[in-house]
Structures are given as C-alpha cells and as structure tokens.
Amino acid sequence: MKILGISAHYHDSAAALVVDGVPVCAVQEERLSRRKNDATFPAGAIEWCLDRAGVDAVDLDAVVFYERSMLKLDRILTSALRAFPRSWRSFPNAIKNSLGEKVWVRGIISSYLGVPRSRILFTDHHIAHAAAAFFTAPTRRAAMLKADGVGEWATLTAGRGERRDDGTADITLHREIRFPHSLGMLYSTFTAYLGFAVNEDEYKVMGLAAYGRPTMIDRVRRLIQRTPDGGFVLVPEYFEYQTTASRSFSSKFVDLFGPARQAYDPIELETDEGRRFADCAASVQRVLEDTLVDIARALHEETGLADLCFSGGVALNGVANARILAESGFERVFVPPAPGDAGCALGAALYADRIYFHNADRDVPDHPFWGPPVDSAELARAAREDGHDIEELDETALIEQIADDLAAGRIVGWMDGASEFGPRALGHRSILAAPHSREMRDRLNRDIKNREEFRPFAPVTPAGTADRYFELPSGGARLARFMSGVFAVRPEWQSELAAVTHVDGTARLQALEHDMAPRLHTLLEAYGRRSGIPVLLNTSFNVAGEPIVNRAVEGYSTFRRCGIDVLVADRTVVRKHASPPARPLKERVP
C-alpha cells in the first residue's frame, strides 16, 4: 500500500511516502525550493518522493493531509468573531488567506496529483504529530504529549499509544487544551517581544535564557494561570495573536515587561537592557519547563507507563525535554527528529496506514535520513570546472585525512548519504569542527554562520562514550539520539569542550550510535585517537537565513562563500585554495 503524507500552508511544508507500512522517503519543501520555512504546497517534495520511490501518483492508495482545514477555518472565524470589533483589521486578511488556497486543499491535491478526491484523507493535526512520534519510536506502549502553537483548535493534547500483540496499533488522544490557550503561543509571544522571528527563532530565546536569571517568573505567571484540572489558561488581555496576525503581545504586556526589543537591535548582555531581555527569556523558559514537567508528571501518574512520546514544535525545546526526562517520572522520552509540522507529513501517512487502513504495525528504521542522497559526482564536476583539486579517497584514507584536518583546526563541510528529515543536522549535512576552544566558536559565528554570539553550538559524540563527557540521566542517550535534549557538560571537561559548552555549562548533545551514521561515528573515533576526546562540534550545514544544504552543489556554493576549509561529499574531498586567484573575477570578466 502506497500512502503519501503532506503538510503545508502554515510553516515547514513537507511530503513523506510510506510504502507497505514503512517510510521510503520524506523531505521538507524548503530543502528543495531553497526558501527557508517554505510553507507553500510542497510540489517539489511530492515530486521528489514519487520519483525516488518510482511510484506514479495515480498508483497512490491514499494522500493524507496533516490537518482538517475546515476545522482550522472554523477556529480562525470563531476567534475573529470572539474578538469583534477588535479583529476588524485582521479579518479580511485571515479570510483571504484561508479562502485563497487553504480550504481548497482537497481540490488542489486532487488536481495536482490526478488522484480521485475519495483517496484524499485528513487527520487531526495533533494526531499526525502523535503518529510521527509513536510509530517511529521503538516502544510498545507510551504516553503521548503533543504541544505546539496551534493546529486546528488543539494546542496541547495528551493520550496514549499502543502496539498490540496481534500486530495492530492504536493512538488515542484523550484530552486537549484549546486555542487561544497555548504554550507554543506563549513562547512565540516572547519570541516576538524579544525581537526575533516567530515560528523560526524560538531557539534563540532558549539560547538567550541561559544568560539571564528567571527574575520575572511572577510576571510570566500572571500571563499563564494553572487550572484545577492540571491544565492552564492564558490571560487574554496580555496577548493579541488571537485578534491580529501582525502583533503577538498587547500594550498591557509591554506595561508588565517594559519596551520590546527592536528586531535589529543587538543584544548587549552587559547593559541593563540586554540583561532585562535575557532575564525575560530565562523567565518564560522556566515557566514553560515547569508547566510541561508538571503536565508530564501528571500524565505519568495517570498512565503508569515508562515511555513518553513528545512532539509538536514545543518539543524542539531541548532544555524542557531534558527536564521532562529528569523530573516527570518517565524512563524514556521519545522526540522524533522532525517534531514540528514537517514531521506531520510522515505522521499522517503512518497514521492512515495503521489506523484508517488497519494494516499491521511495522518497525520503522530508527534514523532521520529520509531525504535526497548527495551526489559526489556533482561536486567533483563543479569543483573541477572551477579549478579546484579533487580527491577521491577510499573509506579509510578519507576518515584519517578528515580527522587530521579537524585536529589541525580546519572546518569541514560534511555531506554523507541521504539528508536528514527535520530541522537538525545529525551527521549527514553538518559542519564539523574541533570543539575545544572559544576561538573556534567565534570563528564559526563570524566566518560561517553570521549569527548572534549568545547562541551555542552542539557537540556530537559516540553514544558509548557520551556519559564520560556529559551528565546523562537514565534515558539521556535516547533523548540525545536526535539532539533533542540539553545536558550538563561534566565540569572537568568544560574547558576542553569550550566551543560547545554554553554559558550555563550545558550542551545540546547528539549521542551517535554507529548504526545510525557509521561514517561519522568512525570519524569521531579517529578524531578521538588524535585529540584524546572523541567529540566534535556539529552544526547545521547552512549559513544564517538559508535552509540546510541538500545537494552537493548547494554545499559547494556555501563552501565557496564562507570560511569552510574542507568540503566532503561521500568520498569526494575539495579544499580551499591556499591562496586566492591572482586577479579577482570582476577584473577578468568584462
């Protein structure tokens, strides 16, 4: 049975193809269109998935969209009506937006793919999140917690999933918290207030939080109040996202926290203003963590289960994830590699397979590499045409040479096999560097990533040795499999791992199993033999504002214009010229 899952029209549109119960491929549209957070209908991703699997669209048994678009329109209309007459400015835009394309999704899919409308199915948004987490996790039964900004109406859902002995599986979401009460929107409101881009820069708030003290917790708690049943409500007068798309927070919010940061102002942490913003970030971060831990703990007590599947955009918050693991009572927390809306494409397809079509549950390979493979010949051709020396190395020579490069302080652009599905570079589209000095961190920030100083870089290390350098609680290695948790760097190693140790002594670790990315695992071991520490800095292979590279030529063009020293695509290696060409191209070409 061939089922295509689609997510689109909000952010991170994607497509995923499941054949006979197992994912074959999945990719975000942004990786192909090269437009970050591309939310358009994922025509490129669909086309690539079908090509990759050799499937004709007409042979698809079902196409599953990741949410119920009319239910979403219902929420938008109802919110506008409830905010009458304050919503008069946003109403025309909201309606034009919805009626323009979003509510006609069945017709769009049908006409684009040429499949009958009866084969186009829908899932609830949070069910798609739940399926993406549960059906890809190696667990028999687990509690479910899904938290994001908003889907149709739900912003937080709780339930359970189970694989039965007869081969069937089920996911049931028992309860939900509804818009406008939303942990994701609370965090996004602070993201906007702190001058960052909503739905994109939430991780900057998390990074900034480490520089502050949670001195404003009481103020944040005036925005979010717990209910006797263990849920919460947001106090509406502090927010405007429910009435307008152009502003998230109200004047009353500004009265409470002070003037908002301008998007282009630098955050100077040595100033009072900079510290206020950092304290603000630390406070909302702490409240988010406390609320999630509390809800997860109650869910653990209620279900008595050892495992938790946690997904939705909020599950990208690695600090909160680590606290849930440490404090809620769950022994293992599974966060999928694409916990956000992109992952819903895969979740929707898996849900349709197991639940709508009652197919037997199948084990899903436990890795994130469902995207397009890298073509090293493409790199070799482009680099050769530009006069670069190309090296085609055997496996052993490649590993030894790149380990030497890393030990010598060179920065390596690393492309290996299929690209990751999800926002993290987990070893197939990564920039790798030695993790030992702050100078390396500053060099990466300055010459490659062009990003704020306060943002940390992540380490990758073999899972077998992770505990030596990082304080991993029981279940920590699992959470670190897809870089989903932030853990303390052991104090004795912090100075040796200065480039990846955040200001609060933590790191967003990837604990790598050999089977998941064998080549990178071998490289880590080879690097460990040289430096004594098998840890590398692993950051996504992109520059600020661009999607992670997908094809070899994209890696090559990034390599050409930033401070990466060595570029690797499978076993093809290109190095920067020791000296630049004699005359710039501008002078040589009329």
Binding site: L81, R175, R247, Y264, V589
Partner: protein, 237 residues
C-alpha cells in the same frame, strides 16, 4: 521624482525602514542569484553568479548594519518600528522562480533589474547627502552594480548572440507586466479588504454575540476529546 525621494528619505523612521527593507530585498535577491549559480550548467556563469550573489548578500549586510546603527540612535524606543512582530519582508527578484528560467532569460532579467536598481540608488545617494555613511553605502553598491550590469549584458550576448537585444526588451516588458500585475493585485486586494470589512461590520455582529455567548460556556483547562472524531478520514471538519 527627486523631491519626493528627498521627502521620503528626510524622515528618520522612513529612512531606517527603507534601509532595513533594502537589506531584506538585497539578501533575498542574493539568495536567488546563488540558486542560479547552483543550477546553471555553464561554469563561467556559475562563477559570475556566485560573485554577484556574494555582492548582493554583502549589500544586504551593509544596509542592515546601517539601518541598525541608525535604529540605535532613535530616541522613541517606546514604540517599535515594525509594530512588534513582523520583520520587513519582500522577495528580492520580483518573486522570480530561478528554477524555471533559462540562463539567457535570467541574464536579461538581471541586467534590466540591475540597471533599474542602479538608477534608483543613484537618486538615493544624492538625496541622503546629509548622511555620509548612508551615502557611502550607496556609492559602494553603485560600483558593484556597474559590474553586474556589464557582465549580465556580455554574458547574455555570449549565450544568445542573435537575440540578446530582443531578450533585454522582453525582460523590460516582463518587468512592466509584473508591475501591472502587482498593481492590479494590490487594487483587487484593497477592494477585497473593503468588501470584507463591510461584511465584518454589517453581517458579523449577531454571530459575534453568539460566539461570545458560546465562549462563556466553554470550560477552562483540559477538554475531553470525543472518541469518534478521528473516525472520519475524509472529513475536513
């Protein structure tokens, strides 16, 4: 037009907003040209596109840095320049889909766009003579634009020796057509917004009253999910 530009650039907030908007447009344009570099099969064009893209990205940085520097001197920090959340946007090359354009058409388009940008930036340079750092940025960019205009034209002539002039005229016409489409879409959007606003105030009040009444009956906190909701795979509701 020069007095109008002088008036536009004379206002501090508008100047900052313009600079930051240019930053986004130049950066987006740079990314489009970068994409062209990744897609072209012509090695020389790839190198030139890459050089061009690096210039555009650098221009974006220059505008961003200058806009930010001016922003820091702004006294009225109590209200935000972009009303809180959204950053100024706008896609660089007229929402060009580089993937769909053959090299000769892209070169013609770039040539015309660069020429238009150079003309505009020359005016802006002249009207910001009270602000030497901003003026210096326009001067630097104008130097780059000369290279961009030249290489796009010579490469177009190389790629399409028989029809390069026609390609340029076609690009000009296409630019005009896109401008018309944008204006038409703007007018249509405005009419739509007016109609929907009328609907909002005339038709919606009773429904708004009902919606608010229903809201009061909703419970706070957790709400149970009905078991049968997921049993409707074909429903969009």
């Amino acid at each position: 037009m020069r007095p109008i530009h002088k008036w536009v650039w004379g206002d501090f907030d508008r100047r900052v907003r313009k600079l930051l908007l240019f930053a986004e447009v130049e950066t987006d344009g740079g990314r489009d040209i970068l994409r062209a570099a990744e897609l072209t099969s012509d090695p020389l064009l790839r190198r030139l596109y890459l050089e061009h893209a690096i210039d555009e990205l650098h221009h974006g940085d220059l505008f961003r840095q200058r806009g930010s520097a001016l922003l820091r001197t702004r006294s009225t920090h109590d209200r935000t320049l972009f009303n809180g959340s959204p950053l100024p946007g706008g896609h660089g090359l007229d929402d060009l889909h580089v993937e769909n354009e053959p090299d000769h058409r892209l070169l013609a388009f770039l040539h015309v766009a660069e020429k238009a940008a150079a003309d505009r930036f020359a005016i802006y340079r002249d009207v910001v003579d009270d602000d030497p750092p901003t003026r210096a940025i326009f001067e630097e960019i104008l130097r780059d634009e000369v290279f961009h205009m030249n290489y796009t034209y010579t490469q177009l002539a190389r790629m399409s020796p028989r029809s390069y002039k026609r390609q340029v005229w076609r690009a000009r016409a296409s630019r005009l057509w896109k401008r018309y489409l944008r204006a038409a879409a703007g007018v249509a959007g405005l009419l739509g917004a007016v109609s929907l606003t009328v609907v909002y105030f005339v038709v919606l009040p009773p429904f708004a009253w009902l919606a608010r009444r229903a809201e009061r009956r909703e419970r706070d906190g957790w709400i149970p999910i009905s078991r049968d909701r997921r049993d409707s795979p074909t429903s969009q509701y």
